[in-house]
Amino acid sequence: MSTPLSRRTLLLGTAGLLGGLTACGSSTDTPSSNGGKVELVYRLWDEQQEVGYKAVFAAFTAENPDITVRMEVLPWDQYWTKLTTELAGGKAPDVFWLTVENFPDLADKGVLAPLDDLIAKAGLKLDSYHPNVVQSYKFEDKQLGMPKDLGVVGLLYNKALVAKAGITMPEKLTWAPDGSGSFLEVARKLTVGTKQWGFCSWNHSQTQWLNWIASNGGQAMDKPYGTFDFAGQKSVEALQFAHDLVFKWRVSPDGTRTNPPTGQATEMFYRGEVAMFPANNALLPFALPEVKFPIGVTAMPAGPVDRTVVINGLAEVMFAKTKHPDEAGKLIAFLGSEKAQKLMGDAGYIIPALNDAGAGYAAYWKKKGIDVQPFLDSAAGSTVNMPIATGWTAKVAEINKAVNALYLDKADVAGIAATMDKIGNDK
C-alpha cells in the first residue's frame, strides 16, 4: 500500500504541529485595540440579562471613553464546551460569567486572575458583598471572582390553589424528618387526587436536598474543598425526607416525572399541577410570563435547626492571560460598583451581591405583583454555600446523576448517600 505520505512523516508532522498549537496563550487573536481604544469581550449566557448589561456598559464607557465592551451571549448548554475548547488553545474572553460549580476547576488550572489588588485599588471592600458569594469564589486565599448576584432559594406557591384549598400560608413553615411541622400539613392539604401535588420534591441540589440537609443540621461537606459527609446521620435523614415526601407522604410527583434531564418539575409548577415549588429567585423572570395564577413567595420551611437556605451567586471573572489586564480590571471593578449592581438589580434581573442593594429589586417585583422580600430576608438569615471540591465539574454531574435513584425509589437512601460521598471524596 503506497500512501502519499509515509506514516513516519505524518507522526512527526503532527507531533510538531501539536507543540506549536498548544504552546500559545493570548486573550484574543486579533489585537482589538486601535488608537488607544480597547474593546473588551464580556461573555454571558443569559439573553434577558444581556438587555440589562447594555445599560451597564454604556455607563462604563461613559466613565472610560477609551474602553468599549462587546457582549457575547452563548447558549447555556454550550457555554462550557466553547470555553473549554478556547482554554485548550490558551484563549478566553477578557471577562466572563462563572458559576460556583464550575469555579474550582478553572481556579485550580490558573485560568482566573486574582482580583484582590484591583478591588483594593478601586476602593471596594469584599466584606460589603454577601459573604457566601465572596467565599464561593475564593481559592487559596485569593479572590478570583467579583460577586455579581445572589441566587437565593425561596418557596414559590400557587396562590390560586392555596386559596382554593382554603389555606392561609403560615407565617413560618416548619419541617422535621419525622413528618411533623406545618410544611407537610400544608402540602397534604394542597394534594388533590393524583393530578395535583402539594409540593415537588425533585432532584435539584441547589433548591432541594442541599436545603433539607442544611436545615436539618447536616453538612454536605465540612469546608470548601473538604470532605463530603452525605452519609452522616443528619444528611441521610434529610435525604430520607426528600424521598418520603414522594413515596411515604405522597405529596409530590416522583422522579419518573421530574428527574433531569427530561423531567418537567418546573413546568408542573407552571401548569398548576404542583402547588409549592422551591426556586432560585432567578426563575421569576422566566416563570412570570408562563403562569396563569398569581405567584406567592415565602421562605423555605425551617427545619430542626431553623431555616438555612442555599446561596448560589454568580461571579464575573477575569481571564488570567487577558491582553488588556488594566482595562479588564477597570471593568471588573465597575461591575462590582454600587452603580452597576443597582442598574441590574433595579431592573429586576438580579439581587445584587452587594449588601443592601436589593431595594430596587424588591420595588421592581412589587410592581409585577410579587413580593420578593422573603428571598431578601432569607439571604440575610442563615445561609449555606453550594459544596465545591477539586475536579468538581465532573463530580457534581456524577453526584447529581446518582441522586436520580433517590426519586425513583430504586435504592436505599443510605446507599445513595454513600455513593455520593464516594464520588465526592474520590482522589
Binding site: 505524518l10 507522526l11 508532522g13 503532527t14 507531533a15 504541529l17 501539536l18 507543540g19 498549537l21 498548544t22 504552546a23 496563550g25 447558549p75 462550557w80 464546551t81 473549554t84 482554554l87 485548550a88 490558551g90 476547576d105 488550572k109 490558573g110 485560568v111 410527583p253 422522579g255 419518573t256 416525572r257 428527574n259 433531569p260 434531564p261 427530561t262 423531567g263 418537567q264 475536579g391 465539574t393 465532573a394 454531574a397 446523576k401 436520580n404 435513584a405 425513583l408 430504586k410
Partner: protein, 303 residues
C-alpha cells in the same frame, strides 16, 4: 493478479489517469487532509500525551492506553454503544428501505409525502430535545396518553434502565429513517428502466422481482447506508445527551458520552483522545468488514 508488462501506450494512458485523478481530487484533498484528517491525526498523537486544560501537553507514551484497558467504565460504554448500534442500524436500514419502496411509487401528492417523511431529519436539534421530553413524560406525555386510550398504563420510559436505551434508539430511528430513505429512493430511481421492466414482463411476483433484480442493484446504496449508519450510531451523542445524560445509572452511557465527560468535565484531553482512538479502531474494523463483504459480492457491470 499478474499482468503483462504494460506497453508504452497503456503506460501513457495510466499516467494520464493518475494525473487526472489527482487533479480532480486536489481541492478535496486540501479540505479533507487539511481540515479533517489533521485533527484526527492530532487526536491520535494526543492519546500519547497527558494534556489538561491550559497545561502544556506532556508525553507519557502508552500510559493512557494502559489505563484504558483497565477501565471498566470504558468497556461498559463500548458494550452499551454496541447495543445501541445493534438496535439502530437494522431498524433504520430496514425501515428506510421499506419507505423508499413505498414512496418510489407514482402516486398523486407523493412529493409531499416524501417531504413529510424527511422532516424528522431536518428538525433543529435544540427544539427536538424539548419536544421529546414532552412526548416521553410518563404522566402527561403523548405516548402514555395514547396507550391510555387502550387502557394500558404506560411505563416510565426514560427512568427505566431497561427501556431507556430502546427509547433513545427509537428516537434515532425516527430521526434517520426518512433521511436514509432518500438514498434508497435515489438508488431505485437510478435503476435503468430496461431492468425494471424486464422481469415484470416475465410476470414475476413483486417480491421475487425485488429480491432478484432490485435488491442486487441497490447493493452500492445499501453499502453506503449501512456504513454511514454504523459510523453514525457508534458516534451518537446529541439525542442521548439531551434525553438521558447517560442514565438512568449508566444504562445509556455510550462511548461518546464518556469522551465528552473526559474532555469537557474532567479536562483530560489526552485520555479523551485515547478513548476516541479505541472507538476509531472499532468503527474502522466494522467498516472494513462491511466493505469486504459487499465489494466482494457486488458486481457493478450490469449493462
Amino acid at each position: 493478479m499478474l499482468r503483462a508488462a504494460p506497453r508504452p501506450a497503456r503506460r501513457t494512458q495510466r499516467r494520464q489517469q493518475t494525473l487526472a485523478g489527482y487533479a480532480l481530487l486536489a481541492p478535496s484533498m486540501v479540505g479533507v487532509l487539511g481540515f479533517l484528517l489533521a485533527p484526527v491525526l492530532i487526536v491520535i498523537v494526543l492519546s500519547l500525551f497527558d494534556w489538561k486544560l491550559l497545561a502544556t501537553p506532556e508525553f507519557i507514551g502508552l500510559a493512557n492506553y494502559r489505563e484504558l484497558f483497565g477501565d471498566a467504565d470504558v468497556w461498559h460504554s463500548f458494550l452499551v454503544t454496541g447495543y445501541y448500534v445493534l438496535i439502530c442500524v437494522p431498524g433504520t436500514t430496514i425501515l428506510s428501505l421499506l419507505l423508499a419502496l413505498l414512496v418510489n411509487r407514482k402516486l398523486r401528492g407523493m412529493k409531499y409525502f416524501r417531504a413529510l417523511l424527511v422532516i424528522p431529519w431536518m428538525a433543529t436539534p435544540v427544539a427536538l430535545g424539548l419536544v421529546w421530553a414532552w412526548i416521553f413524560d410518563p404522566g402527561r406525555g403523548a405516548i402514555n396518553q395514547f396507550l391510555g386510550i387502550f387502557g394500558i398504563d404506560g411505563p416510565a420510559w426514560l427512568s427505566s434502565s431497561l427501556l431507556a436505551m430502546p427509547s433513545v434508539a427509537a428516537v434515532h430511528i425516527w430521526q434517520f429513517a426518512g433521511y436514509n430513505m432518500l438514498f434508497f429512493l435515489a438508488g431505485l430511481q437510478n435503476i435503468p428502466a430496461s431492468l425494471r421492466e424486464a422481469s415484470s414482463l416475465d410476470g414475476a411476483s413483486p417480491v421475487a422481482h425485488f429480491f432478484s433484480i432490485t435488491f442486487p442493484l441497490l447493493r452500492p446504496t445499501l453499502l453506503f447506508v449501512l456504513i454511514t449508519n454504523v459510523i453514525g450510531s457508534f458516534q451518537a451523542f446529541d439525542t442521548i445527551f439531551v434525553m438521558t445524560e447517560g442514565g438512568p445509572g449508566d444504562s445509556t452511557e455510550v462511548a461518546t458520552y464518556l469522551i465528552y465527560d473526559e474532555a469537557f468535565r474532567k479536562f483530560d484531553f489526552g485520555y479523551a483522545s485515547t478513548i476516541s482512538v479505541l472507538l476509531f479502531v472499532v468503527i474502522l474494523i466494522a467498516t472494513i468488514s462491511q466493505f469486504a463483504y459487499f465489494e466482494r459480492r457486488t458486481t457493478y457491470d450490469f449493462s
